[in-house]
Amino acid sequence: MSNLTDAQEMPADRGSPKGESDSDLIERYLAGSDEAFNRLALRHQRWTINLAYRFLGNYEDACDVAQEAFVRVHKHMSRFKGDCSFKTWLYKIVLNLSRNRYRRKEARGEFRKISLDNPGGDDSRNPMEIPDTTLSVGREVRRKEIQCRIEESLSRLPRKYREILVLRHMEGLSYSEISKMLGCAEGSVKSRLHRARIEIRKLLADLVEA
């Protein structure tokens, strides 16, 4: 499980000089360096987009939410007090923005329906379209099908179940981190996670049994 409580432990990502932590970059950015913000964005862009994607199930929305999250970071960096890691802070921003987007889409009835007959949909940028030449065609088709099933099942879950499954089993956050992020007790996190797993197991019954 990842530990997000210490920003110093965040490994240097691409585009960042070796050994330069989030705290250093934040400090430099606050001192007026836009280049530091660029490095920060480069370092965290991938997981930010993925997190949003898992919450929302739509790549375009995920990119938009991730971009908006970084715009917020740029604007409100001075409010970051350092009492949690930068990643945790960014998690919360992405989570809130995703929730807003989710509600808006829910109100408009715009959730994308994934068709098992056309898993990739019309989204040409969907990574599902990227061929994996290391796998046989049969296994690739099967993998895509499973991914689509998981994505579809997640989209059918209530938002609170989806969030907690993503945070726990996809992002690998600890119970305490999740409880802080969601603002509820650890016990509640565990029980909610248990119910969420039962729900998704029902939706993925054939895959799980297999």
Binding site: A62, C63, Q67, V71, P127, I150, G172, R197, I200
Partner: protein, 562 residues
């Protein structure tokens, strides 16, 4: 161990977070339990599936897009900064701006809008003793348009509703403060003359509020006399064109709220009397009727009431005499009151006779509205130029003295018809001067007394002691108003120095009560304090006191010598 106890640990075991002692126990159980094994396996598979959920790649120009967005955002307008994207908030902000602008325009309009034109009925330079100001004819019209009865009722209901929504005295007072009575009148579409006594009406409205809302605390906190104030407030407002319907509707509503199964100690009888020529048919004069005495139980009064010969009301007689308006005034004093009382006191009997408890209000006003010519006839008759043959007025006869220097304000004479009507009202002994005195004076005090003559003597003594003058203006020896048995009414006109008025008011009740003459209760005393003076200037006040004595019908007295 039972599966039920093991299952809660399976999630932790599947995630590898189960601690040592429990792990062994659970694993021991799993060896022998295929169901729990399957459960654990399913949980692990679910977790694995979720963990293997694919990752997506970021767009190659993601950071550039972020920076472009930031730059774009910084260039946006103030409104856009406030509301980052087209949103409900943005729409609401726009709507709010428009609404605020509209409100501002309305307030400016309200501030500078011209006041409503005076009623078409106009101001008649009427006069009567005790009234030097112009008397407005009570015609329900506004801006040249006759106000229909239905429209009046509608407005009355609106007013009543507005009153009904208020809760409690505090709010009533707040409303009163924020919206003076003129404001109410304006909002209701009824202009109220500025020269009316605002304080009286205000007290009346407050009282109406308190009573309407059933706020007993509020009611009690009007020691100035809720009842009297309310009634006189209504009456006062009635003076001005059109206004009465709204107020009387509110008043009637609260009256109806009382369950009129029997006469109550503070039962109120509304009488439309002939006190003022120009409003004889519309003025509501409140008379607080107390139980006359302990030996006159309510039940007896009610049973007497059932025998009231309403069919013999003088309205037909008067109408046949060609004076419908005055006839209406006559019926106000007698029949209307009786019917009203009957309707409230003996509802079954009233129903049989098709009498509605709001008879005194709308039906009556409706009659007037439908016959404005009748009112004109009345006004004309009462505002005739003075009769040259009229004898010189006696010095000190303040009830008929001139109020101004012009001949127009001389006392007009009464013609034969008028005299007949007056006589039918007040008896043969009533002179024209007395009639005008009464017509110009709304009773300042109304007392229900046990012995009218003794009470009158006490009042005279008190007035004399205070340096004032009295004149017993009228005596009714017939079933004049109350309809409960026979009632005898004494009208006393009092002229006092202004400085002595307060003293008189304080001593009057004490004197009557201490001599066992008054059947009034403290409520009546309170009512007395809130009534208005008939006329006053810097030096003197002139007002009318009405003494009512109720007797058994068979004991009706002959008129005393005058």
């Amino acid at each position: 161990m039972e599966c039920k106890k093991i299952r809660p640990f399976l999630d932790d075991l599947a995630e590898g977070e189960l601690k040592s002692p429990q792990t062994e126990i659970v694993e021991e159980h799993l060896k022998a339990c295929p169901l729990c094994q399957r459960e654990l396996s399913a949980t692990r598979q679910t977790i694995r599936l979720l963990a293997e959920f694919r990752e997506v790649d970021e767009p190659p120009d993601f950071v550039q897009q972020v920076m472009q967005r930031i730059e774009k955002r910084q260039k946006r307008s103030v409104l856009d900064r406030l509301f980052p994207r087209p949103s409900v908030a943005r729409v609401l902000a726009s709507v709010s701006c428009v609404a605020i602008a509209a409100l501002g325009a309305w307030l400016v309009y309200k501030q500078f809008a011209p006041t409503p034109p005076p009623p078409r009925g106009g101001v008649a330079k009427g006069r009567g003793v005790g009234r030097s100001k112009p008397v407005r004819l009570a015609r329900a019209s506004r801006g040249g348009t006759e106000l229909s009865l239905e429209e009046s009722r509608k407005r009355g209901r609106a007013f009543s509703k507005a009153v009904g929504k208020r809760e409690g005295l505090a709010e009533a007072e707040e409303v009163e403060k924020a919206h003076p009575v003129e404001e109410f009148g304006r909002r209701l579409g009824y202009p109220i003359a500025a020269d009316e006594r605002v304080e009286t009406r205000s007290a009346g409205l407050r009282g109406a509020f308190a009573r309407k809302t059933g706020d007993k605390k509020g009611d009690k906190s009007f020691p100035a006399g809720t009842t009297g104030a309310m009634q006189h407030g209504a009456e006062r407002s009635n003076v001005v064109a059109g206004e009465p319907v709204a107020l009387s509707y509110a008043f009637r509503t609260q009256q109806k709220a009382k369950k009129a199964t029997a006469l109550q100690p503070r039962d109120t009888i509304l009488t439309l009397s002939a006190e003022r020529p120009s409003k004889s048919s519309t003025a509501l004069v409140g008379t607080v009727l107390e139980k006359a005495a302990s030996d006159r139980p309510t039940q007896a009064a009610t049973s007497e009431l059932a025998n009231v010969p309403v069919a013999q009301a003088p309205v037909e007689t008067a109408a046949s005499a060609g004076r419908p308006a005055l006839a209406q005034g006559v019926s106000d004093s007698g029949e209307g009151q009786e019917k009203n009382l009957l309707a409230r006191s003996a509802p079954d009997e009233a129903k049989r006779l098709e009498i509605d408890s709001d008879w005194y209000g709308h039906r009556h006003l409706g009659t007037l509205e439908k016959a404005p010519e009748a009112q004109d006839a009345l006004s004309t008759a009462l505002l005739k130029p003075p009769n040259p043959s009229q004898p010189e007025k006696k010095e000190g006869d303040f009830s008929s003295q001139e109020k101004g220097a012009t001949g127009q304000e001389q006392m007009p004479a009464l013609d034969a018809n008028d005299s007949r009507q007056i006589q039918s009202l007040f008896g043969e002994a009533l002179s024209a001067e007395h009639y005008y005195a009464l017509a110009g004076a709304v009773p300042e005090f109304v007392f229900v007394v046990k012995d009218r003559e003794k009470a009158l003597a006490e009042i005279k003594k008190l007035v004399t002691a205070l340096g004032g003058e009295t004149e017993s203006a009228a005596l009714g020896d017939k079933k004049l108003t109350l309809g409960v048995g026979a009632s005898l009414a004494e009208w006393i006109i009092v002229k006092l120095k202004t400085s002595a008025y307060e003293q008189f008011r304080e001593k009057l009740m004490v004197r009557l009560t201490s001599r066992g003459l008054s059947a009034s209760t403290p409520e009546l005393r309170r009512a007395g304090r809130a009534t208005h003076l008939s006329d006053r200037d810097e030096a003197t006040v002139t007002f009318c006191i009405r003494l009512v004595e109720i007797r058994e019908q068979e004991q009706t007295q002959q008129p005393p010598e005058r």
